[in-house]
């Protein structure tokens, strides 16, 4: 493996490129070369952790071994991220201990964890946007220059390329971090782990914002690190990739460890049933003939230079229309242009009425809603309680007496909406921040269904939600399409599109390439279409 393509992947050959700064030496009396030594077993023993009253981990013991990719599975809120954060020194456990190579470590901080070779690649990369890629790489351990308090910039620039090459990152080291894609930012985080000489690397749900291709690049890197005897921890919601890459799988549910299995023992079914605690029915696609149903939404020659061009389609009453495409293919941009969030030429007609000057306010009034893909940034009002989050899109329609809203009536409306989407919360006055991702998404569904849409655009409706919430969201989508709502559904999970949609439009590089309908909608067909191959 090492040196096979002229580029040595062996840590010993690569790492001495960086002169260890004096300050680092003094901080590390042993001055060990971690990557050459090979990682040790890293073990959590009977860890418990609560946040306020909420139990995140109870009595969890897991061992991560060198040369192994060990994946944590579980629904949202099961405790996966918390466990990795405890092991990376970000959270302090309430009980239990952490052992490195059999020795108890005591209290960890992120810094002391890194000094011992433990690095957590966070869910959202935390780069400094205005600094260049190589500056981000060396933040925290800048090589010193000859003068006191100076930085050896030449050294940094020289060695950055080698680190980038190790993780398969092909960029100019001077690129500002803000212009890197999320995939590149993640690889940069991995390179940072190598700079810090860490050999125990945890990945907290790295693939959820990535396309399949980008994820493959990351997996290739993870496999290389495994060859080098690194100890690797991984979290993912995508079971396909879990089965593909893991050597060992641990399932958590409700803050407890449910089962641990080797990859050979694991199957899709066994993981899912361990995650949810009961079997989930295999879904069948429904057969409906909606070709004669009336058209509610008509999009004609919608174009925005550089994003998408000549997009035309119709959506019919009661139909679920899928938009399949890679991230960046233009699917979200099309939806945002329809919803008046970005300018575009072309025409949009809703129930026979042309919509000229589109703004979210006017569209919601006419019966078109858009559930955004980024719930945290574009959906949730973090400081506002659950009730008001639910009623936020219908404030002008709330029952009033004179100029004053009627709180009781509003409560009832919100309560009904929350029951319709089966929100689990202590009360409607709970903070929305305290809810799990699945319940936050249910709240977003409650909000948009209250607006009583004729056309509903759902952008990644099941992103970052647990299996149970996914199932409920599918039922909601089925249910509202039965009542005559035209649903336009954008999803990266092709499986969802296969069993939910009556028709699917495949989008590639800003154009609709093909429409598939009925039983022609298969995983294989969609999979080839979205990467621009004609298929068939």
């Amino acid at each position: 493996m090492a040196g096979a393509n002229g580029l040595s992947l062996c840590g010993r050959a690569m790492t001495p490129v960086v002169k260890r700064p004096r300050s680092m030496r003094s901080r590390r009396p042993e001055s060990h070369d971690a990557s050459a030594r090979g990682a040790a077993r890293y073990e959590a023993r009977q860890i418990s952790k609560s946040f306020g009253g909420a139990v995140a981990l109870s009595d969890v013991s897991v061992t991560f071994a060198p040369g192994e990719i060990h994946t944590l599975c579980g629904e949202n809120g099961a405790g996966k991220s918390t466990l990795l954060k405890v092991m990376a020194g970000i959270h302090q456990p309430d009980a239990g201990e952490i052992l490195l190579g059999g020795e108890p470590l005591g209290a960890l901080t992120p810094r002391s964890a890194q000094l011992r070779g433990i690095y957590l690649v966070p869910q959202e990369p935390t780069l400094m946007a205005t600094l260049s890629a190589f500056e981000n790489l060396f933040v925290g351990i800048l090589p010193r220059g000859r003068l006191p308090f100076s930085v050896d910039w030449k050294e940094m620039e020289r060695s950055a390329g080698a680190f980038f090459a190790q993780v398969g990152l092909d960029i100019d080291p001077h690129t500002p971090a803000s212009t890197l894609s999320i995939a590149q930012q993640q690889l940069l985080e991995c390179a940072r782990a190598l700079v810090h000489r860490c050999n125990i690397i945890f990945f907290d749900e790295p693939t959820s914002p990535l396309t399949a291709r980008e994820a493959d690049v990351l997996f290739a890197l993870m496999r290389q690190l495994r060859e080098r005897d690194f100890t690797l921890g991984f979290i993912s919601h995508r079971l396909d990739e879990v089965l593909e890459i893991s050597d060992r799988i641990t399932v958590l549910r409700d803050s407890r460890l449910v089962t641990e299995m080797t990859a050979a023992e694991a199957s899709r079914g066994s993981i899912v049933s361990a995650m949810v605690g009961h079997d989930i029915a295999v879904r069948q696609r429904r057969h409906r003939d909606l070709s004669s149903a009336e058209t509610v939404l008509e999009v004609e020659a919608l174009s925005a230079p550089g994003r998408f061009s000549e997009v035309s389609f119709v959506a019919r009453r009661g139909e679920v229309l899928g938009l399949a495409g890679l991230v960046g293919s233009g699917r979200t941009e099309i939806a945002e242009a329809i919803f008046g969030l970005a300018p575009a030429s072309g025409a949009v007609t809703l129930a026979g009425r042309p919509l000229a000057h589109r703004t979210p306010a006017s569209l919601i009034d006419s019966g078109l809603i858009y559930l955004p893909e980024d719930r945290g940034r574009n959906g949730v009002f973090a400081e506002v309680d659950l009730e008001r989050n639910i009623t936020a899109a219908i404030i002008p329609r709330l029952p009033r007496r004179g100029p004053l809203l009627r709180p009781g009536a509003e409560y009832e409306i919100a309560e009904q909406a929350s029951q319709r989407t089966r929100i689990v919360a202590r009360s409607l006055s709970s903070s929305i921040k305290s809810l799990s991702g699945g319940n936050q998404q249910r709240a977003m569904f409650s909000r948009w269904l209250l607006a009583d849409p004729k056309v509903a655009i759902f952008d990644e409706p099941t992103r970052g939600v647990d299996v149970g919430a996914k199932d409920d969201i599918y039922k909601i989508i089925d249910g509202i399409s039965d009542t005559g709502v035209a649903v336009v559904m954008i999803s990266s999970e092709l499986e969802e599109l296969v069993f939910l949609c009556d028709r699917v439009l495949a989008i590639y590089e800003g154009r609709i390439v093909t429409e598939v309908a009925g039983d022609d909608i298969t995983l294989q067909r969609l999979g080839t279409l979205i990467v621009g191959e004609p298929g068939r």
């Binding site: 946007a129 971090a177 549910r253 407890r256 449910v258 089962t259 641990e260 299995m261 066994s270 049933s273 361990a274 949810v276 605690g277 009961h278 994003r307 979200t332 941009e333 945002e336 919803f339 008046g340 969030l341 970005a342 300018p343 979210p360 306010a361 919601i364 858009y370 955004p372 893909e373 980024d374 940034r377 574009n378 959906g379 949730v380 009002f381 973090a382 400081e383 506002v384 659950l386 008001r388 936020a392 899109a393 404030i395 002008p396 009033r400 100029p403 004053l404 809203l405 709180p407 309560e415 929350s418 029951q419 089966r422 929100i423 689990v424 919360a425 202590r426 009360s427 409607l428 149970g468």
Partner: protein, 363 residues
């Protein structure tokens, strides 16, 4: 599969709270609120000072302190409106001043009644507030910079209105408003302050515009996407702050029985109104808080100020005391939610609408 623990049924807990549970948590929430803390602290300061200096506790003195807090209290209620949308207005003092001197001169020269002057004061305030709002919303200049600019402009207008004279004699009806009481020991000025606060609280909690202020302050982009007319809401917030500052100008005129070139600014009302908002538990990070806290905080600041005087501390230390309270209040808030830094807030610009697609906007 043998290692799997016994399956638990997938439970859906209804969103309706148990009644007893909700009552207990409601009591707990009330006790934890900033408003409760402020009342306790005001009473504590008052009691301690009375113990040291018994003359502090006379009904005349209580009334005097409550009255003297009213110009600031009303102004703080106004300041809250922009703070809720992540804004700030450091031009409220000259807005108050302009309203006070222009109504004051009309009252002094023509004997106009305060009933006639009220709409004028409100209109002046709202107009100047709208100017602030337009700059912040459409020219997209950060609120602190916009209002620093208008602070100078408005202060200049105030001085030029006054020239070398001052409002010194007001019609008798104004003094009645100052000295009179609705019930024994409850002065008209206090009643005005309380009514303004109640109306503002009702506005914030029970009107669609009030609701929109919280949404915009919390997450502009989500608010826009939820169909809230963000630009109109922002301009309204600045207009409301101006409107209430105009009203505070009339309160000022009545309380001080006059007004002059530096009215509002010489009393340091800009900083004090922001301090009252923050001490009152409304954050500068937007979307959180209300008007009752700032109203009570204004009273607390005034009582504490008097107490310090009674205790024989040099009044030069008064600004330092307010500053200390301010820092303490911000530290309290940070513990509760440290989502956005103060620096980020102060220099944040109102984003351009319609918002750029995320792939462009994200760093």
């Amino acid at each position: 599969m043998s290692g799997i623990a016994s399956p638990v049924e997938h439970q859906v807990i209804p969103a309706r709270p148990g009644r007893r549970d909700s009552r207990r948590s409601a009591a707990l929430r009330l006790a934890r609120r900033r408003e409760s803390l402020l009342i306790v602290m005001t009473v504590a300061v008052f009691s301690i000072t009375t113990a040291l200096e018994p003359s502090f506790d006379t009904s005349g003195n209580i009334n005097f302190m409550l009255e003297s807090a009213m110009p600031l209290a009303v102004l703080a209620v106004g300041q809250t409106m922009v703070c809720l949308v992540r804004g700030i207005d450091v031009s409220v003092a000259p807005i108050l001043g302009i309203a006070a001197v222009s109504t004051g001169f009309l009252a002094q020269d023509d004997g106009s009644s305060y009933v006639l002057m009220l709409p004028l004061a409100l209109a002046i305030g709202a107009g100047l507030g709208v100017v602030n709002g337009l700059f912040v919303t459409y020219a997209r200049i950060p609120p602190i910079i916009t209002t620093l600019g208008t602070l100078s402009i408005y202060a200049g207008i105030e001085l030029s209105l006054v020239g070398s004279s001052a409002v010194q004699t007001l019609p008798a009806s104004y003094s009645t408003l100052n000295t009179g009481t609705l019930l024994p020991d409850i002065s008209y000025l206090l009643v005005i302050g309380v009514v303004v606060t109640i109306l503002a609280a009702l506005f914030l909690w029970r009107t669609t515009l009030g609701r929109a202020l919280y949404a915009v302050g919390n997450n502009v982009e989500a608010a826009f996407r939820a169909g809230i007319r963000v630009n109109a809401v922002l301009v309204s917030a600045y207009a409301l702050t101006g409107l209430i500052a105009g009203l505070a100008g009339l309160v000022y005129l009545v309380y001080y029985r006059g007004a002059e070139g530096g009215s509002g600014i010489t009393e340091n009302l800009n900083l004090l109104s922001i301090a009252a908002v923050l001490i009152g538990g409304t954050t500068l990070t937007g979307g959180k808080g209300g008007v009752v806290g700032p109203f009570l905080a204004a009273i607390f600041i005034t009582v504490a100020d008097e107490a310090v005087l009674v205790a024989g501390v040099n009044p030069d230390w008064q600004p330092a005391g307010v500053g200390l309270l301010l820092l303490l209040a911000i530290m309290l808030d940070r513990n509760q939610s440290g989502r956005r830094s103060l620096r980020e807030v102060l220099l944040a610009r109102h984003p351009k609408l319609p918002l750029a697609p995320p792939n462009e906007a994200t760093p």
